[in-house]
Symmetry: D3
Subunit: 328 residues, 6 copies
């Protein structure tokens, strides 16, 4: 059974729409101001992972941005599960999905005070196939981590823990990263040169047996980050939340990113230099294995199966090789 | 003839839509990433003001964000005028309009590299009635300028001159301003405590006869700002582009904001203190008068007429008093 | 027995004066340069609380500012207790007092090197009624914490741990706070946007069961802060000294200030948003109860009794309602 | 006629007192909080120099600190001249005086909101002999300028242009300067390493014929600074207000301080290195000569006469050699 | 006549050595501490260009670093010209040379106070063939300017105007630049994100007809920079010394570097984007032409001739193609 | 047996040279760019201390600077021991030596890309007598620690953990320290005013029984620092790696430096103030004793013996009193 994204219905303010009809007004504050908070949860074996934690964080983002969603957290959870249930029948058994929430302040009016919520919030929730092909090889080879020229937005300008859709700074920084290597994954530094975060994930190193990740001063309080720390505790791997700099990555024994879709993505190069011997490290592999255990499935295996399928399809239909992601 | 916004058609990628049908996909990068550059031009007497300068700046924003709009600047101008022509018949002779451009990188795909433009850009252009009622009283009384607790995003994170729709930092800062006074207008400081800009405009003071405005290090290169400087030159008012701090505003002789809709908005209070004697100053009035001359209409007069009309309407229908902006 | 402040004698360089006659030269460096270090100790049940710790800190301030007080720490303690003994007979049994030390570098000479101590230091010690009426309601309702626009003086300009009387930066920042709410209590941020301190106290949050307070990098090493941490240890409440930002307060479960007069003051609002459900939290209440146990009296009760007395008096003599503090 | 400072009466809130009786309450906010704004004007030939500019600045300081002095600027000028007239008869014809204003927020109450002015402001005005002996040699030899380890308080903490008496940061920095050389005069750098100001004056260099002084971002808007710039303009010496760093001083052709008492004080050494050839430079001398012309007296000559008198006295009474300033 | 570098004698503390024998002790502070100041002057038509200005700057560097060279500036000039005269006979008529000065504090002793100069300074002066082949194409095509991830050393750590040989920060930053493009030329940003300088040159943009270059706050006071400004003045091209940021380069009309060997090197790409239309601009070409006029030779022509010669040689002996610079 | 340094052979790229003949080309990147990484190891009782850790760090420095030494770490160790064995016969039994490695990128070419390694690296290894006379008295009296005006190079400019020979910033800062006291030892602050490091060592304080040292954000990851922490752990002395400021040193109970030659150097004064009672503290003494135990010799004793010998020699030959270090 192929995974057909066109079957995934999209919830918008109480109604379900096919993806092609899932639209919002160009006057919505989501479009006019990027005034949207968001969460992305994934499923493992069709079950949402840590949905409550994602919704807790969503309601923190709503509070800090002073958006009134018009729904209690319980109602939000209920509708989320409803959307998921509606769409899961279209998901092959060995595939999974994103569950995405986008909540904007609703209608915006040109020239009017943007801090006033003038209408019902725009509540969007949808699922999408969890396509991991871009990252699949990194589970075994590791990715190339690169630091951009730009610096993370500081917390006194906009706190990185507000998970939001005003992402232009992140997108432009990632473009700088791609100048070095089109496959590279970015690590933003903060204004003081401390390691901050990836545009959509957190960063860890392992040095002399200790797992280290920056504080949330300039980084999302990632749920995958928390999971990695919990798994490390379970495995008896000592961990520190501590500021570190590029030198620490250059001289680390291991390095990896965490994020909702891929969970743990090893980094085996940093700004053109190998991390240690340039191979995926033991702590990284143990953490990923523990995560697979936790969710009852082979996380990397799922990604690699997807990649193999795409490559098989491409060898049959070579002209479609850029299609991987355009059907998302 | 009342000004009916429902008649203003919206251009989206080659087609015109009534405003209620002007929608974009929830998967557009405008929604998913705030990945949109923008311009807002206004008309005076139905003629667009400095449209070429606005389009020059739009194409700078497109270049720096590496969005390919799929249209040359000449084509963009042509379609802009087409939209304006389509909508002007619905605009009363003494009213004017915003002309708004929003251009996003197009379709976004969850989990895929956001720096790759995967589709045609989403090009949106529309007009809206230029409603000035919220600001009208400030022309005569001056507004209350307030500095938020947060600080402007620094240029090494995201340059303020890229006119974009990832505005959450600005919106949250403006909310802090409204804690002091719901009618206040914000002045962001930069990380060093220098005056930066308003969420949608620039800021000027007059001290001992000299007009001063901050550099564009942390401020939009406002076209209204440039106009104010040009008018000052024409009037023989000396002007400086120079860093200044809150102390300078507290001790200034005059202060005002510039922005596309209101052109010049006097500020007569700053963080609860009067600016000078708390009245609109002479240089400010001369600049506004010169601007009115330049465009051949009474800029403040238009706003005050709108306000009078709303107040008359409200005195007749008191329950509608919050309606001013909800029909924008 | 009413508490008559006019009976509290003031020690100045070896002599005791009635408060109305307690004066120093306008040429004193205290007046000319704010060149004064200070301590404020309070009594509980007429016994000074942690006087030795306050004097230790006073002598640290004297050392760092290179003021020679002309008295050993033991002599300073002896005279302090002498002043207290002289004044306690005038203190009602259920009331308490401040014990204040102010020590300046002595005489200042216009135009001369201010770093040279040209005379005996000016040593001032006095008691004052401990009037808690302004804070009394906050024990049950919590206060509104607000961050000013200004930023804390950084340690490489003047270390916040030198407890001194050059307080203009704090006073002006607190004025900004009062623009938001005349009853609000300020939380200064440092130049990096980290939470620093209140003008006269420290700040704590409780998040997921952990008590957190900033380091002393930009905050007084408060003796009440230390007491709160000791009480937490005694109660088995985990605590961290750690940098945090506004986001942490917005999303905290509880928040409170510590300072000598009120010990613990719950904060239930932050910049207009409720802290958690807007009510005083359990950890806060346990710490305050433990502090009351430690000192053998109901700390909040004393304050609320004072407030009730003032309100009774005001209901009898309504014209005196601003008098609460003018007799201090 | 010797200059007897004990004859100089001191104005405090409407009354005149002999200096020994000129005292304020230890509860005044001047003592309790350093909450005092100030000006120091000097006379030349018994006439106050730029008194109106000093009072303009005083009223700016009052405004920004939100202290209500209870007197209009005209009334303040009137009382100032009254104090001066009362004291001038005791001033020898070839001597001059400081005119000092200190205005505090009045009575402070321990534990009460310090931002509320609870009483009449405390308005102090007095004169003092203008004793220049400490600086006299510097007119001919130049002084040794030294930068402290500490950094100037940044404007977002407390603007240096508010001329105030919370000077502890300045005093401690000057003590660091004296570690290098007990006669050295300090030059504070700001947090970015730019030259800021002296504890009570401004700093200038001359490089390739151009006079340069830092902006007022981290420096008092000195009236002597303005005078130096005016004199330079009159002499055709080009001048720039521009940021510079220590390197610029090390490689300058000339350097000097400006301040009310000494007007211009040449600096011929900087952190142990000579400025140029280590002698007072030509531009400096021209500016000082022009200032002497402006005020109709030999500024350096007055100081050198004082020094000669002291030295003569000391050679007669060698045990009194530290007395120069203790009678101020 | 081929240009044989082995004939260029090297001056070391009074003696001349063939290059292969030009050595210094491994205990010299040049090696042990990078404690060396330096200048690089070039000839045009065998005549040194602005040698006096280079020596002025050298003596400023010596002063600020407190190195005693043991020679007056006149003596240094005399020996420089002597070295040049000795080596010029070996320079083909259409070729030119670098004249390099390196002056270290002399012998260093492990564990001893490095600030004491324990011996005669080590004075090195030599010439080298001016090989421009690496840059030759950039005169016509422009180079690719790239900003590294690292930031310029701030002036309060080490002033960029001290021309010195402790260059590791520059070398590592340039390595980051080469990650983007092995031919790219770096533009360091300062800690605030302002454009600073190239590792060995200055940077200019042309925007709307105005030539702009950053201040020397974080940049060498380049003699080529000064020359470019002088030439611009002569041509009537308005110029500003002003802070700018990456956005200014992205949206500039022209951009170029200045440095001693190449004088002016056009930059036609910046971080992967074209500068304007990606071609060398008119102002740049006019300045380079004026410089050629000033020195009486075709600056770009010399470089292009060298390149043509190398390419001819390589086409004859293809295995030597990396040799261009290894014989320098 | 006197310790004759002229017998210590120097290894340069495979050959051994007497010290007077140990030279490198003036064109080496060590001289031209300070492009050298380094280690200094010492012996105790003729055995190298923690040589493997020094080589580990050396190879980290090589990696981060992208210098290819052309030797594996094992080969580097082997040659190091060979040099040591060659030279130890000339070392008196109660004396020890430095083992110094300097590795540069090799030949540099003026005007060519300095990031390309064009030749074999220059590998230098030598021994030198461990002369401790300058520090000997500090073991018993403590030294005077002073903070310079300059600030440590921040990690986003050049990470202090790369042990390198581009030391000009450190040398100039130490010169500022010597302005206060020619015997003082410097403590660099970072840009935020946190304590960073000494030019060649780390810094510790003891406060209320806890040993504290800054993180490696702006400090070398000292092997002596690690040793001190290990010894503290062995002695049950609690230790923290934590940011602190000057105030912490002023109010500390003890303070000391760590570095390879002297191991632990007590600091008993800080910027002119005594640390505690101005005597070497108990924790410091215990750590130094433990270190002596660890290496089987009296560390301070060795230094004091050297000093006594020098003083005896000087009393016999008073004209040689500056010779202590000039024979290194």
């Amino acid at each position: 059974m192929p995974h057909d994204p066109s079957k995934h219905l999209v919830y918008i303010n109480g109604e379900l729409f096919p993806p092609d009809e899932a639209k919002i007004s160009v006057f919505d504050s989501a479009v006019m101001l990027g005034d949207t908070v968001t969460e992305s949860t994934r499923t493992f074996r069709h079950r949402p992972f840590k949905l409550d934690q994602h919704l807790d964080r969503l309601y923190k983002s709503l509070k800090v941005t002073r958006i009134d969603p018009g729904l209690s957290q319980a109602e939000m959870k209920e509708l989320t599960l409803r959307v998921l249930q509606a769409n899961l029948p279209h998901v092959p058994p060995d595939e999974d999905v994103w569950i995405v929430h986008n909540i904007s302040r609703g209608r915006s009016v040109a020239g009017a005070d943007p801090t006033k919520q003038r209408s019902q919030a725009t509540v969007i929730a949808f699922t999408q196939p969890m396509i991991l092909t871009d990252w699949a090889r990194f589970y075994t080879e590791g990715c190339h981590a690169v630091t951009p020229m730009s610096r993370a937005v500081p917390p006194q300008s906009l706190d990185a823990r507000i998970k939001n859709r005003s992402r232009m700074a992140y997108t432009l920084a990632e473009m700088e990263v791609k100048l070095v290597d089109p496959q590279a994954q970015g690590i933003l530094l903060d204004l003081d040169g401390n390691v901050a975060e990836n545009k959509g994930g957190n960063f860890f190193i392992v040095s002399e047996g200790v797992l280290k990740t920056p504080s949330t001063r300039s980084a999302l309080a990632g749920i995958s980050r928390a999971t990695a720390l919990e798994l490390a505790a379970g495995l008896g791997i000592p961990a520190q939340v501590v500021d570190f700099q590029l030198y620490d990555i250059y001289t680390a024994d291991e390095a990896f990113f965490t994020s909702t879709p891929y969970c743990i993505m090893p980094a085996t190069r940093i700004n053109g230099l190998p991390v240690s011997d340039g191979r995926v490290g033991g702590v990284t592999r143990r953490l990923l294995a523990a995560w697979s255990d936790l969710v009852g499935m082979d996380i990397a295996g799922q990604a690699l199966r997807q990649l193999a399928a795409v490559e098989t399809a491409q060898s049959l239909h070579p002209s479609n090789h850029t299609k991987k992601h355009t059907d998302g």
